[in-house]
């Protein structure tokens, strides 16, 4: 795959605070690239540098094989973006906003072409409504339409499912997959929704405190044999002791007050059967997201529960 974004040793300092430190990564053509990090990790600062909203303190950014600082206009012609909140002109309608940003991207579209774009994000029936009447989810959809209106090769969608209802989330997820698989677009998705990234992205980067933690193929980074299963029963103490005596001991990751096992997903039915056969009523059995655990392990979040050790 040909590299589309090449970031090398990127740094951004605000006075004494280092927001991004020596960050390097590559996004390949056709990737759906997940860009993960907690709030304040430096995702937004990095994205803003990729879009020339912020000047890097040092480092280099190449997009489409060209230096961003030197070929800013030409590069930005081929980039569409929703950055943080999808804010639009509230006193204009959806159609007027879309038309305005199309013109700003130096393309002229007919009304029917603009309506097609709105239809793509499910807003065709609200084309003449003013944006001030829109819900957050509708603004999000319009923001995505605006980012796509000039048919860019690189699309940056910051938290694209924010504010959307379940159906909206599925629609946007499918749209992103379609853009990549059918139209060959490269999509960069900064997000903190790990489950979302796991579903749609083929490659990902995790940053923490402005520094790269890891970068690679999502499938390679995740290990399905290490799913953390959280169990709540009517008698946790009894369940914990049963599990310790029955060969699950090595896989227990916590104590009797909070039972968690690190197992292969395939073993979950066996655990349920074992507990039920031993007259333990299960209130909850929840496979914690593997990527989430992976992420938390890497970033050492305060919420992370350290593995139990004897």
């Amino acid at each position: 795959m040909k590299p589309l974004i090449e970031v090398t040793q990127l740094c951004k300092k605000f006075d004494q605070f280092t927001a991004v430190n020596e960050l390097s990564f590559t996004v390949n053509e056709g990737d759906i690239f997940g860009f993960l990090g907690e709030n304040g990790a430096g995702k937004s600062t990095t994205i803003r540098m990729l879009l020339t909203l912020i000047q890097p303190t040092s480092g280099n950014i190449n997009i489409f094989g060209e230096n961003l600082q030197e070929n800013r206009k030409e590069i930005l012609k081929k980039v569409g973006a929703v950055i943080e909140k999808p804010d639009m002109y509230k006193y204009l309608s959806a159609l007027e906003n879309l038309n305005l940003f199309a013109k700003m991207s130096r393309i002229k579209l007919s009304k029917s072409q603009l309506m097609e774009q709105l239809d793509l994000v499910g807003l065709a029936d609200r084309s003449n409504s003013k944006v001030k009447t829109f819900s957050q989810g509708m603004k999000q959809r319009l923001g995505i339409a605006v980012s796509l209106v000039h048919n860019p090769d690189l699309i940056i969608l910051d938290e694209p499912t924010n504010g959307l209802d379940p159906q909206g989330i599925v629609d946007i997820r499918n749209l992103i997959l379609k853009l990549s698989h059918e139209r060959g677009k490269t999509v960069l998705v900064p997000s903190h929704l790990l489950s979302e990234i796991e579903i749609i992205a083929n490659r990902m980067l995790i940053i923490n405190k402005g520094e790269k933690i890891i970068e690679g193929e999502v499938n390679n980074l995740l290990d399905p044999s290490k799913t953390i299963v959280k169990i709540e029963t009517t008698d946790n103490k009894k369940a914990f002791h049963l599990l310790t005596k029955s060969g699950w001991l090595e896989k227990l990751k916590t104590n009797e007050s909070q039972i968690q096992l690190e197992v292969d997903k395939k073993e979950i039915p066996n655990i349920i059967r074992f507990l039920v056969e031993n007259n333990i009523e299960i209130n909850l059995i929840q496979p914690r997201h593997s990527l989430e655990d992976y992420f938390l392990t890497l970033t050492k979040s305060a919420d992370y529960v350290e593995p139990f050790t004897n």
């Binding site: 605000f14 020339t52 909203l53 912020i54 950055i83 804010d87 940003f101």
Partner: protein, 297 residues
């Protein structure tokens, strides 16, 4: 860049705030015209009370369209900077406040182009505002009050003067005055744009622009020699009313008005240079700052 300007003008035209300025001007001009139509003679008697005996004129014709426009401009051109600040002060900061600035900045235009287009849009808005003022204050007044010779009252040094300009020598002066006012108000637009670059909400730069203009105007009106000599030349507000110079007609050796003349053209020209220099300085600082600015909104 033309399409960017069209977009900018479209956005201005669709904002309700834009029309506040036009509505305010309309209301003020209509109130003036109504008041002078109803009882203008009292005003004229007051102005002429000290010269009744030695000044020959038909007082019934003294309140005419030209005179009305002069009176209205005298009042309005002090207030209009506030209306210009409403648009210019909002140019960048309003976009930052709405969250649209970051979207605009990802479009294939340079920051200089974006800021310059914002300035041009404010300039065009200023011109439209003045054209509207001219239509109401000059042409509507001429329609209501008719045309005749115009009297100008002024204080020069320690003495009060009344200048009389014949009606066929007035219209060009108004065109020149409106041209001058355009430059003067463009200084306010440039100042508004400059302050707008540093803020992320509209209120701050609008209020700051208005406060600067008011403060400088007040200082400009302090008639104390030390202020006259050392402070006023440095305040752009001292030059905002320079348009009046076009109505100070030149006098011959016998004190008679000379048709088509201006008393002190070099002073008007120098004021224009100073105003244009202010536009250049404000705009240059705005462009420099905007190019360096990190867009964090």
């Amino acid at each position: 860049m033309l399409s960017l300007l069209q977009i900018e003008l479209f956005k201005i035209s669709r904002r309700p705030r834009t029309y506040i300025a036009f509505a305010a001007i309309t209301a003020i001009v209509l109130i003036f015209q109504f008041a002078f139509k109803s009882d203008g003679q009292s005003y004229m008697n007051l102005m002429l009370q000290n010269v009744q005996d030695n000044f020959e004129l038909d007082r019934s014709k003294a309140i005419n369209g030209y005179f009305m426009c002069y009176i209205i401009l005298n009042t309005l051109l002090v207030q209009v900077p506030i209306l210009v600040a409403l648009i210019a002060g909002d140019a960048i900061s309003g976009e930052a406040n709405m969250g649209t600035l970051r979207l605009i900045m990802t479009k294939p235009y340079s920051r200089t182009q974006i800021l310059f287009v914002k300035f041009l849009a404010s300039f065009i808005f200023t011109i439209l505002l003045l054209i509207w003022m001219a239509i109401l204050a000059l042409f509507l007044s001429l329609y209501i009050f008719g045309a005749d010779d115009m009297l100008i009252f002024r204080v020069k040094g320690d003495e009060s003067q009344i200048l009389q300009i014949t009606k066929d020598d007035i219209m060009w002066r108004y065109f020149a005055a409106f041209g001058y006012a355009t430059i003067a108000l463009t200084v306010i637009a440039a100042l508004g744009i400059l302050l707008s670059v540093f803020a992320e909400n509209s209120i701050g730069p609008i209020v700051a622009t208005v406060c600067i203009v008011l403060f400088f105007t007040i200082v400009s009106n302090i008639n104390v020699p030390i202020i006259d000599k050392n402070v006023k030349p440095w305040l752009f507000t001292s030059y905002l009313v320079g348009w009046k110079g076009f109505f100070y007609i030149g006098l011959d050796a016998e004190g008679q008005p000379v048709k088509g003349s201006i008393e002190n053209w070099p002073a008007i020209r120098n004021s224009l240079y100073i105003l244009i220099a202010h536009i250049g300085v404000f705009l240059s600082i705005a462009i420099y700052s905007f190019r360096k600015k990190d867009i964090l909104s």
